[in-house]
């Protein structure tokens, strides 16, 4: 009799831990996906602004075909990406291309004076800020999911219930990071 009660209690405790742990994982997984959607909103908004930007720059900076094409191509690649990894890579390319475009624009005073261009520049930098915040939040959510997944006792059954791998972070591109470490961005005030 006592043995059965002990066995019953142990089974109940194990069930409680497994169900609780599973629900925590589901909630954290869902939360990470949701915060990726927040990044997505910003990325979409950025993509929507780009045709307008390209048109505006074209009117002034006629010699910058290459830079403009890079932006257009990166946008197309980002919009057409099939999976997360391609998407992240394309969006990082787009960030880089946009950076170069704004750097090039410095050489065209008329362009810089254009109100449309100024407005687009403000909007894009606002989006970049929000993007950075959303990305940080996403990465935090991912690291929390990964940490809980690997914690004892969750680690014992996480694989069995379908959470068998860590979630990938939203990284700034490898190329970007290499470039930043090699040559930190310099700001020149002598216009």
């Amino acid at each position: 009799m006592i043995t059965w009660i002990v066995i019953g209690v142990v089974v109940a405790i194990v069930l409680f831990i497994v169900v609780g742990g599973y629900n925590r994982l589901v909630a954290l997984d869902q939360r990470a996906d949701q915060s990726f959607a927040d990044i997505d909103v910003q990325l979409k908004q950025r993509q929507d602004l780009i045709p307008n930007l390209v048109e505006t720059v074209k009117g002034y900076a006629t010699h910058e075909r290459g830079t403009l094409d890079a932006v257009t191509q990166a946008r197309a690649a980002a919009a057409g990406a099939q999976n997360i990894n391609d998407r992240v890579q394309a969006e990082n390319m787009l960030t880089g291309a946009l950076g170069r475009l704004f750097a090039v624009a410095e050489a065209y005073p008329d362009l810089k004076a254009n109100t449309n261009f100024q407005q687009l520049q403000t909007e894009l930098s606002d989006i970049e800020n929000k993007l950075a915040a959303a990305r940080r939040f996403f990465n935090n959510a991912v690291s929390e999911f990964n940490a809980v997944r690997r914690q004892f006792p969750t680690v014992l059954f996480a694989g069995l219930v379908g959470f068998d791998a860590d979630k990938p972070f939203f990284d700034v591109g490898e190329a970007d990071r290499a470039a930043m470490t090699a040559a930190p961005p310099t700001v020149n005030f002598q216009a």
């Binding site: 940080r136 939040f137 940490a147």
Partner: protein
């Protein structure tokens, strides 16, 4: 399971809150028992006329009907507080309702946050005061209200104001006002009971005749210990509960705004500039409320120290702490000091 990020931090604090809330009924039983022992000791309640153990067992058996009675009193008390809460708060703090027309930017910030969570936008109120503070009130849908001071809106940046509004909105989402009203009602009943015990002590102990109970001394002593411990724990639990709700609201603000830095710099700005007067029920809902230098203040504070709150935001929210805020830069002053390079 320890906290490793924002969500686990919230979970840990919510579990803590439930355990603390569950402590109140236990304390109520504790102090009722103490009160009965004291009353028996003074002969106000009949004893068994036998040993101390029998008297204590008899007192314990009364709990069967005194505890339900105390719970009924608590329910009635809660019903009254539920109706009166809003009116009391409105009349005392002098908060004025703010419309979209008069403060469009502030109103939109709050409305956007509410929409993102599918909530009806709470009423926005403003106190014309230079101190930096904010609080959430209201016990049910339709009566929720978020109040900020003029000083807060003037001093903080847009992102910081948004973080503060998100903190208050998290109090609303989590129904913290209700939790704290329940806590203060329990604490209130417990302190009323304790007062009865001490009154009885002064009244009867003043040398007016002997008690009929043969175990008077030990009964009164044990009862007093129960009562004293109960009262002290009730206050401590209420304050601990309030502090866990603040941690959750800070974390919730980051969930809503995705911006731990804004919450941290907002806390840095209100640090030491938050003094605002209000009744206890309101003060515990303030954005920040620091006791003015009493002993043991950590135990009896409604809010964790700003340092602790920032530490949690840095650790679990991934924020950066800019350090104490030095105040607004005086306008027009020549800042000829070269920046450290």
């Amino acid at each position: 399971m320890g906290a490793v990020g924002l969500q686990t931090h919230i979970w840990a604090n919510n579990t803590r809150s439930i355990l603390l809330l569950a402590g109140f009924p236990v304390l109520l039983v504790f102090i009722l028992y103490g009160a009965q022992l004291v009353m028996m000791g003074f002969g106000l309640l009949p004893g068994t006329g036998r040993g101390l153990g029998d008297d204590m067992a008899l007192a314990a058996s009364w709990l069967g009907w005194t505890v339900p009675m105390a719970l009924v009193v608590a329910a009635v008390w809660f019903a009254i507080a539920y109706v009166g809460n809003q009116a009391i708060i409105d009349s005392i703090t002098g908060a004025r309702k703010v419309e979209r027309r008069t403060e469009p930017e502030l109103y939109n910030l709050l409305e956007n946050l509410a929409i993102s969570r599918g909530l009806r936008t709470p009423t926005l109120r403003m106190i014309e005061s230079d101190s930096l503070n904010a609080f959430a009130t209201g016990l049910h849908e339709g009566r929720y209200s978020v109040t900020v001071t003029r000083g807060l809106v003037n001093t903080l940046t847009r992102d910081e104001v948004e973080a503060v509004l998100a903190h208050e909105l998290t109090h609303v989402i989590n129904k913290d006002v209700r939790t704290m009203v329940i806590a203060s009602i329990f604490a209130g009943i417990i302190s009323v009971l304790a007062e009865l015990v001490f009154r009885a002590l002064v009244h009867t102990g003043g040398g007016r005749g002997r008690s009929k109970n043969s175990n008077a001394g030990p009964l009164i002593l044990i009862g007093l210990v129960f009562a004293a411990v109960g009262v002290a724990l009730a206050v401590v639990i209420r304050m601990m509960l309030s502090r866990t709700r603040e941690f959750v609201a800070d974390a919730g603000a980051v969930e809503l705004t995705k911006n731990p830095d804004a919450m941290i710099s907002a806390l840095r700005k209100i640090e030491g500039r938050s003094s605002l007067k209000g009744p206890d029920e309101v003060q515990q809902m303030f954005l920040d409320n620091q006791p003015d230098g009493r002993g043991l203040e950590g135990l009896f504070a409604t809010h964790p120290p700003i340092e602790k709150r920032i530490e949690a935001l840095v650790k679990f929210g991934g924020g950066q702490d800019p350090g104490p805020w030095v105040g607004p830069q005086p306008a027009g002053q020549d800042t000829s000091v070269p920046a450290a390079s």
